[in-house]
């Protein structure tokens, strides 16, 4: 929504409220519609109140949850790691090879 459109929407909304107020609804109507206005005005101004916190909550929930008391260490059988990639090259070039990799991961 462009800035011009937003200004138009705000002006239109204001004039509708004014017209209804003149028509006799005034305080009663505004009291009812205040929550809607409180939500709509920030949105028209491109504000999304609380979205950072909401996304943080969503991100927090989407992480895999660990059961309390569950073992943190892997129960998989430890295996020896074979040097690969850059480490393999380094091992082959080294006069004295680097220390052996630990067995457990």
């Amino acid at each position: 929504m462009s800035r011009r459109a937003r200004v138009l929407v705000v002006l239109l909304g204001g004039s509708v409220v004014l017209a209804l107020a003149v028509a006799g609804a005034s305080a009663s109507m505004l009291l009812y519609l205040l929550p809607a206005l409180a939500l709509a005005v920030p949105l028209i101004l491109r504000r999304y109140p609380g979205e950072r916190r909401l996304l943080a909550l969503i991100a927090g929930r989407s992480k895999p949850r660990r059961r309390p008391g569950a073992r943190t260490t892997s129960t998989a059988r430890p295996r020896a790691l074979v040097p690969r990639g850059g480490l393999l090259i380094a091992c082959s070039l080294a006069v004295r090879p680097p220390p052996r990799l630990p067995i457990t991961s």
Partner: protein, 496 residues
């Protein structure tokens, strides 16, 4: 908030000036608090304006009626947060059915027979009964049982009207008889795709106009004549386009009740009764031409019904009427014309709220054109439409609906007592105004939470990024809160 879009992963882009943002947010909160305080002060100074009318005025409420709108808004905001955080993948986009058992084959013809008998009674009572709307069977049956009771029953039990529909039952009986005689006939025309649900929209508008605007709407002869005309039109449509095709799209009442029945937990298909997941039947609603207009018409007509008895239209209406009177029209046509304009304004206001919400959703992500979003989220308004209908007509249904007890025994109003219930009367203590108000508030809140749920589920399946989905739902939340507040204001504003 900047207008830049987030990355597909849904992470919020890093922003500069966090302190400035906090200051702005604080200013916004302060502005809202100041406005609230100002309005509360205005209410204290000017209490007669803020005092509730209608049911809310009659009910003994512990807090001012407008606080219910605030509470309803809070419930919607909490629902929005809960949906955003706890409902992380689409669950309603695929319909899951669980068979409960077979429906007896004789049930559909039996229901059809009852429907045809009731229709015949409406015609007979209309032409032969007394011309008083309180004593004749027709006005109460058509405006209360048929117009309000059948939608409620459809939401509770499923599409029961398709079994009771007199025109459908009559057409099916004719088809069955002709097949027995060895005459088989197919519909000469295919239902035009461009027509979609527009006949339902037209029919609902016409019925709404008849009920709310037409001066002679209570006349039993008028009602019987219109019912006969509609019956003939339906038979013609079914003869041209086929029974099922026309019933689903061309029959205003069949289409309307079928749409609302999608809120029900039950569904009958091929003679088997199924249980389905709540709201899932709305998610796979085919958005044919006219569907968006149909849901907006349901809400718009009910909105005008509330507004026409309220302060605003009672202030504006006479001025519009005087314009038509100045053109030389009599008081009745001038009043009908001004109310027709009021109905159009109500439809325009409701449509504008929804259109504004969808425009806002479009501003979140440019991937989807406006028309696609309009159609894609139209089904979310169906629970709201039903909530409006239930909230506005609940008192009519529970109070005036009791009249059918004595009218069934004396349908013509000529001192008959067919079932021994002619001496019954309406018990207004059956439910008090306070309970009605609470039912109305609950219906509106539940309807809007259901709409929000449908919108959230659709957004999850439409948007790639979580950020876009959440932002789009801010707009739907605003739409839902607006409709809730509007509905509660209309209910409290009714001068009854």
């Amino acid at each position: 908030m900047s207008s830049q879009q987030g990355p597909p992963g849904g992470r919020l882009p890093a922003r500069h000036g966090g302190r400035g943002h906090r200051v702005r947010a604080r200013h916004a909160v302060r502005a809202v608090c100041s406005l609230s305080a100002g309005l509360l002060l205005l209410e204290a100074i000017w209490p007669q304006l803020a005092s509730a009318h209608g049911i809310a005025g009659l009910a003994s409420l512990p807090v001012p009626a407008w606080l219910f709108a605030w509470a309803a808004a809070i419930v919607l905001v909490v629902s929005f947060v809960a949906l955003s955080t706890l409902w992380s993948s689409p669950r309603l986009q695929q319909r899951r059915l669980r068979a409960l058992g077979r429906v007896p084959a004789a049930l559909t013809p039996l229901c059809g027979l009852i429907g045809v008998a009731l229709f015949a009674l409406v015609i007979y009572a209309g032409y032969e009964g007394v011309p008083y709307y309180t004593a004749n069977f027709d006005p109460t049956f058509i405006y209360v049982i048929f117009w309000v009771g059948v939608p409620v029953a459809s939401v509770l039990t499923g599409d029961m009207f398709s079994a009771f529909s007199p025109w459908r039952a009559f057409a099916r009986a004719v088809r069955w008889a002709s097949r027995r005689l060895g005459v088989t006939r197919t519909a000469p025309l295919g239902y035009p795709a461009w027509l979609g649900r527009w006949p339902v929209v037209g029919g609902l508008l016409a019925f709404g106009w008849l009920e709310l605007i037409y001066h002679d709407h209570d006349n039993p002869v008028t009602l019987a004549s219109l019912a006969l005309a509609y019956f003939t039109l339906m038979l013609l449509g079914m003869a041209l386009f086929g029974i099922e095709a026309w019933t689903e799209r061309g029959d205003a009442f069949g289409g309307y009740f079928n749409l609302l029945s999608r809120l029900a937990l039950f569904e009958v298909r091929d003679g088997v009764l199924y249980l389905r997941r709540p709201l899932s039947a709305l998610a796979d609603l085919e958005i044919e031409p006219g569907t968006v207009a149909l849901v907006l018409t349901i809400i718009g007509v009910t909105t005008f019904d509330g507004a026409s008895n309220g302060v605003v239209w009672n202030t504006i209406g006479p001025h519009v009427q005087s314009v038509f009177s100045g053109l030389g029209l009599g008081p009745t046509p001038a009043d009908e014309l001004s109310d027709s304009i009021g109905l159009l304004i109500a439809l325009a206001v409701v449509s504008a709220f929804f259109a504004l919400g969808v425009r806002g959703m479009q501003s979140v992500s440019r991937r989807f054109p406006y028309s696609q979003l309009l159609r894609g989220f139209a089904h979310t308004l169906v629970p709201i439409g039903f909530a409006y209908v239930l909230a506005h007509y609940f008192s009519l249904l529970v109070w005036q609906g009791q009249a059918i007890g004595y009218l069934a025994s004396n349908p013509l109003g000529r001192n008959a007592n067919l079932f021994g219930t002619a001496h019954w009367h309406i018990n207004y203590n059956f439910i008090d105004s306070t309970a009605i108000w609470y039912v109305q508030v609950a219906a509106l809140v539940l309807g809007h939470v259901s709409g929000l749920t449908l919108a959230h589920d659709r957004a999850l399946s439409v948007y790639r990024s979580k950020l876009d989905a959440v932002r789009s739902q801010y707009w739907m939340l605003a739409v839902m809160v607006t409709f809730t507040c509007l509905g509660l204001w209309l209910l409290s504003d009714v001068n009854t």
